[in-house]
């Protein structure tokens, strides 16, 4: 549990951070809340030559409104996300899911941006930003660019960020009047999701007009349950929801590990999708 030796830099601005990353090339890792990187270092699964600690860049923290979007600084801690009134009002799904992340100690250190940039498919928040259709803002030497969540998660622990890019902001469309639910299935309170389902639904005249469903830990990246989403359009009762939820595992590639087989994960995705949608729609 002793990390290999590394150099350490602590920039105080985004520009300085980006310059530091650009100078270091492929060998740098960004340290935000440290809840994923430090275990990797201590288990000697990561060997960066330079750790760039962005924890002292104040502009990266906090939540603000920007028209019909919420702009959440990448360094905003999970705890702050959970308790932020803007997030609770306009992105309740994010607040609810963030509250299930690990334990209070982790939520006080870990950050939204760090969790997304780490891109662990078992993490709760990637599937949530996918369902929310969020945008991720990155700054690199070439300037600033916005990456839709659906293009951000490239592979297991890999994102669209270049090595010299820093994730600075998460932009979430405000969703008034949508029902939501994050169903997380895990064996002990502080463990990773075996499977998670993030559901957002819009009801219209007693029917589901639209459903957006993100899946946690059903493949190398977070996924959308597109087949179920399509089948849910127009669903008017619990039975129709249950039928649509049967498609939740379509196109997923869940892994096998000590806690679950792919087959069982697919089964859970179906059950949890049904439950999440029913709860989100107030039909449960």
């Amino acid at each position: 549990m002793i990390p290999p030796a590394f150099d350490y830099a602590r920039p105080t601005s985004v520009d300085e951070a980006v310059r530091t990353l650009a100078d270091a090339g492929e060998e740098a890792k960004v340290l935000a809340g440290g809840q994923s990187l430090l275990p990797l270092l201590r288990l000697r699964l990561a060997f960066p030559e330079l750790v760039v600690d962005v924890g002292r860049i104040p502009e990266l923290r906090g939540v603000r409104e920007d028209g019909d979007m919420l702009a959440i600084g990448a360094l905003t801690t999970h705890h702050d996300v959970v308790h932020d009134p803007l997030v609770r009002r306009h992105a309740g799904l994010l607040a609810q899911a963030t509250e299930t992340v690990a334990d209070p100690a982790v939520r006080h250190r870990g950050t939204l941006g760090g969790s997304l940039a780490h891109a662990d498919p078992a993490g709760d928040l990637p599937a949530v930003v996918l369902a929310l259709d969020a945008e991720l803002v990155a700054v690199g030497p070439g300037g600033r660019r916005t990456i839709p969540a659906r293009d951000f998660f490239a592979d297991y622990l890999q994102t669209a960020l270049a090595p010299d890019e820093l994730l600075v902001e998460v932009r979430v469309p405000k969703r008034e009047g949508w029902g939501f639910r994050y169903e997380k299935f895990h064996r002990v309170a502080q463990s990773w999701a075996m499977v998670g389902v993030a559901a957002l639904v819009r009801r219209d005249d007693g029917h589901l007009a639209e459903a957006r469903i993100g899946l946690t830990n059903m493949g190398a990246t977070p996924l959308r349950a597109s087949a179920s989403e399509e089948a849910l359009a127009g669903a008017g009762d619990a039975e129709a929801v249950a039928r649509a939820a049967q498609e939740a595992a379509e196109g997923t590639r869940p892994s096998r590990d000590a806690s679950a087989s792919p087959e069982y994960r697919a089964h859970l995705a179906r059950v949890l999708t049904k439950r999440a949608v029913l709860a989100a729609a107030g039909m449960g």
Binding site: R187, V188, S191, Y264
Partner: protein, 795 residues
């Protein structure tokens, strides 16, 4: 001074004396200990389950910054012998060499091969990467049955077998003939998964040599400083009288620190070789590989009974996973269980057979309960199966078989004499607290309406043997030491008291409980008593702490020693008061002459008189001290009834404990708050085996559940509120009437939970779920039972 009614200390829920210090960070863990010039050790460990070491070169590590030395097993072999096994359970037990650093072969992932000594922990850890080792892989040995097959690859090729021993026990009538006359035979196979003990404090050891005199002081996270001192002197050749072992604050053990570890021996050998102090602290993931594991058995159990559910006979066949080596008491753990399979039940025949099997996994050894939880699990699960087979309520089938309270003392079929107990009282109380009949009614109602979340009710009426142990019994079991415990009491000149105990607490609160015991006997205030322990210099005699023995054997020793102090004080007081001893009363710490209450001496005054020794009876030795070595006459037998209600979601397979009630009879209670804490922690650990924890290995013998992210230790958030209560039937075999409580919760709860899970699913056709009852296993059990029923329906 006036006589005051003194409230007895025993029975009071005293806050623990230990806690103010421990919870404010003024603790003294081994890893906190530092001495000038301290060097740090790091161990290079095998990444493979089984391999031959073709080449091992530690010299490149010496080039690394901060490195002082690096050693292989051969470098240290002169003065570092095989690690000890103190329990050769049979005459012909196979006892392989266990070098503290592997010499030619590694036999489990984590087996250490070399040690680096450096100026700090970081330098030591970094330098491990420079050591060059070539391994020639050998086949792993993982499956217990395959390991015994003809031609199986061998863990210890020189021994020619993977069979460590076969230990049989046959008592009562011949089992086979009893089986012939049975109406019902229930045969089941249960798997005891391996568990990783997870003491909160990882292991650590520090050794400070005093070169001029050849003395060594070792600090270790050990449960057994006394045994460790003896054993390390044998392993390393450091004379016993030159070795002082200190167990400072120790943060939990659960049996995992009841061991003589290679790292301790190596630390001593390196300190001697370099003449410098050294320290090693394990990381959690290192501990998962290198600290012994618990459980790991295949249990074949067979009950022969009448159709009325009355037991006639019991047959048990065990395969016990020893792991790669036989450590301190590895082979004896399943044997402790041998006596507990008959549990609280009467029967005519008992046949037991245990085969110890070597595998290429971390060695197993004592883990909370040590053999007894395994036994209790199998018999309590099988009793439920018998109840189902004969169509009786699980509680009723137990009633028909248990020893009735008027039958005590009762000698069981396994040969133990249970001195006391009242299973009826504990069970009746538990059933009432639990609301058993209402829950059964709800269960029927939910079953009828086809609720996908099913209710299950599980019971466990356990007993256990504690208070290890009468030395002659240990002789008969071929254990290499006795089971006595030592206590001495010193009344200081100012009236304060030092209690010296041979037990070695690591979370149990002995300082508090021993103070309560001594306070009542001596009539000295609780606050005026200090308890010294865990240092072979301060407390030179003792057999340490494990097996729920400390209170029963060590607490009784404190009680006896205190009585001896009073006995001597009475002689002195009689002399000072010019009265006959028979005319003295002793109450609340005051000797007074019957009929003339103004003639009195406090025990503190007497202590001062014996200190000056100016005016004591002729021939009496100065000072007011006494010692008692207590060799118990019998084990103690706590018992109780645990009831668990679970809700099983048949859609996801998830189990939630809805309520948990336990009524334990641990005899007389010294400190109810400490007892409560022990029960809660024990329940958590027993429930953990039922639902969460499992050491998982892959086909190559790698530990897959190698971190706390994969090995699931439940926290308070995962556990229900426990309803705990007690009955109090004093033990007849010790002066305090106590029975021990360290392991009861763990022993009782595992079968209660699994019985509840199976009870929830039995109407669906499920008869067992393998531990831990993970959601996927439950889901699979439901699915295959349903598939089976469909098949039956269509056939």
């Amino acid at each position: 001074m006036t006589d005051q009614a003194v409230e007895p200390e025993v029975g009071r829920a005293r806050l623990r004396k230990e806690d103010a210090r421990l919870i404010t960070g003024q603790s003294n863990w081994t890893d906190n200990i530092s001495v000038t010039g301290l060097l740090h050790l790091a161990f290079l460990r095998s990444p493979m389950a089984h391999a031959r070491i073709e080449r091992l070169d530690v010299s490149p590590a010496l080039e690394r910054p901060g490195v002082i030395a690096a050693f292989t097993g051969r470098d240290l072999a002169d003065g570092l012998g095989s690690l000890p096994c103190a329990w050769p359970v049979t005459e012909d037990m196979v006892l392989p060499d266990h070098p503290p650093l592997a010499l030619d072969e590694v036999r489990h992932a984590g087996d250490p091969v070399a040690v680096v000594v450096a100026r700090d922990r970081y330098a030591a850890a970094d330098a491990l990467e420079a050591i060059e080792v070539d391994y020639e892989p050998l086949p792993p040995v993982l499956d217990l049955e395959e390991a015994l097959a003809e031609g199986a690859p061998l863990v210890h090729a020189d021994k020619g077998t993977n069979r460590a021993y076969v230990w049989p026990l046959r008592t009562g009538e011949d089992y086979e003939s009893v089986r012939q006359r049975a109406d019902v035979v229930v045969r089941r196979r249960y798997l005891q998964q391996r568990l990783i003990p997870n003491a909160m404090e990882p292991r650590a050891v520090a050794v400070a040599p005093l070169a001029a005199s050849g003395e060594y002081t070792m600090y270790s996270t050990t449960q057994i400083p006394h045994i460790l001192r003896i054993m390390l002197s044998v392993v390393t050749g450091v004379p016993e009288h030159k070795l002082r072992v200190i167990a400072p604050d120790v943060g939990g053990g659960f049996g995992s620190k009841l061991q003589v570890y290679g790292e301790e021996a190596v630390a001593l050998a390196v300190a001697r070789k370099l003449g410098r102090p050294v320290k090693w602290t394990e990381s959690r993931s290192e501990g998962y590989l290198a600290t012994h594991h618990g459980r790991g058995m295949i249990q074949d159990i067979e009950l022969a009974a009448t159709r009325e559910g009355r037991l006639l006979g019991l047959k048990v066949d065990l395969l016990a996973d020893m792991g790669a080596y036989l450590m301190l008491v590895t082979p004896g753990i399943p044997i402790l269980g041998a006596f507990m399979y008959p549990a609280i039940y009467k029967m005519d025949a008992y046949e037991f057979n245990c085969t110890g099997v070597f595998t290429t996994r971390t060695p197993t050894d004592a883990y909370r309960g040590a053999g007894r939880p395994e036994a209790t699990y199998a018999i309590e699960r099988a009793m439920d199966e018998l109840a189902a087979e004969v169509g009786l309520d699980p509680v009723e089938v137990r009633r028909r078989n248990w020893i009735r309270h008027e039958e005590f003392p009762y000698t069981t079929i396994a040969g133990l004499t249970y001195d006391s107990g009242n299973y009826e009282a504990a069970t009746d109380k538990a059933l009432a607290l639990f609301g058993y009949d209402d829950l059964r009614a709800e269960q029927r109602e939910r079953d009828e309406r086809g609720d996908a979340v099913r209710l299950g009710i599980g019971v466990s009426t356990y007993t256990e043997m504690c208070g290890l142990a009468p030395s002659r019994v240990l002789r008969d079991l071929r254990y290499s030491a006795g089971g006595w415990e030592a206590a001495s009491i010193r009344m200081l000149p100012t009236g304060k008291v030092e209690v010296v105990t041979g037990t070695s607490p690591h979370g149990q609160g002995h300082v508090t409980s021993w103070s309560q015991i001594a306070s009542d006997v001596l009539g000295v205030p609780f606050e005026d008593i200090e308890v010294l322990h865990g240092d072979t210099q301060a407390a030179p005699q003792g057999m340490d702490t494990y097996g729920s023995r400390s209170l029963v054997v060590g607490g009784s020793a404190v009680h006896r020693a205190a009585e001896k102090v009073v006995e001597k004080a009475r002689k002195v007081a009689a002399h000072l008061l010019e009265a006959s001893e028979d005319d003295l009363e002793f109450k609340g710490g005051v000797f007074s002459v019957k009929g003339s209450p103004e003639a009195r001496r406090t025990i503190q005054e007497v202590a001062f008189e014996t200190f000056t020794s100016h005016d004591v009876p002729d021939g009496m030795e100065p000072t007011l001290n006494a010692e008692h070595l207590n060799d118990p006459e019998n084990f103690s037998y706590p018992h109780g009834t645990h009831l668990c209600a679970v809700e099983v979601d048949t859609e996801t397979g998830q189990t939630r404990i809805r309520s948990y009630v336990c009524v334990d009879d641990v005899g007389r209670v010294i400190n109810p708050m400490i007892v409560e804490g022990q029960v809660h922690g024990g329940l958590a650990q027993g429930i953990a085996q039922a639902l969460y924890e499992e050491a998982v290995y892959d086909a190559e013998g790698n530990l897959v559940s190698g971190t706390m992210a994969d090995y699931l230790v439940p926290s308070a958030a995962d556990l229900p509120e426990f309803v705990t209560d007690r009955t109090e039937t004093p033990a007849a075999s010790n002066p305090l009437g106590v029975k021990g409580v360290g392991e009861a919760g763990t022993i009782a709860s595992t079968p209660a939970v699994v019985n509840a899970v199976v009870d929830a699913l039995r109407p669906l056709g499920v008869h067992d779920v393998r531990m831990p009852c993970t959601p996927e296993r439950v889901w699979e059990a439901v699915r295959s039972a349903q598939a089976g029923q469909k098949k039956e329906a269509s056939a």
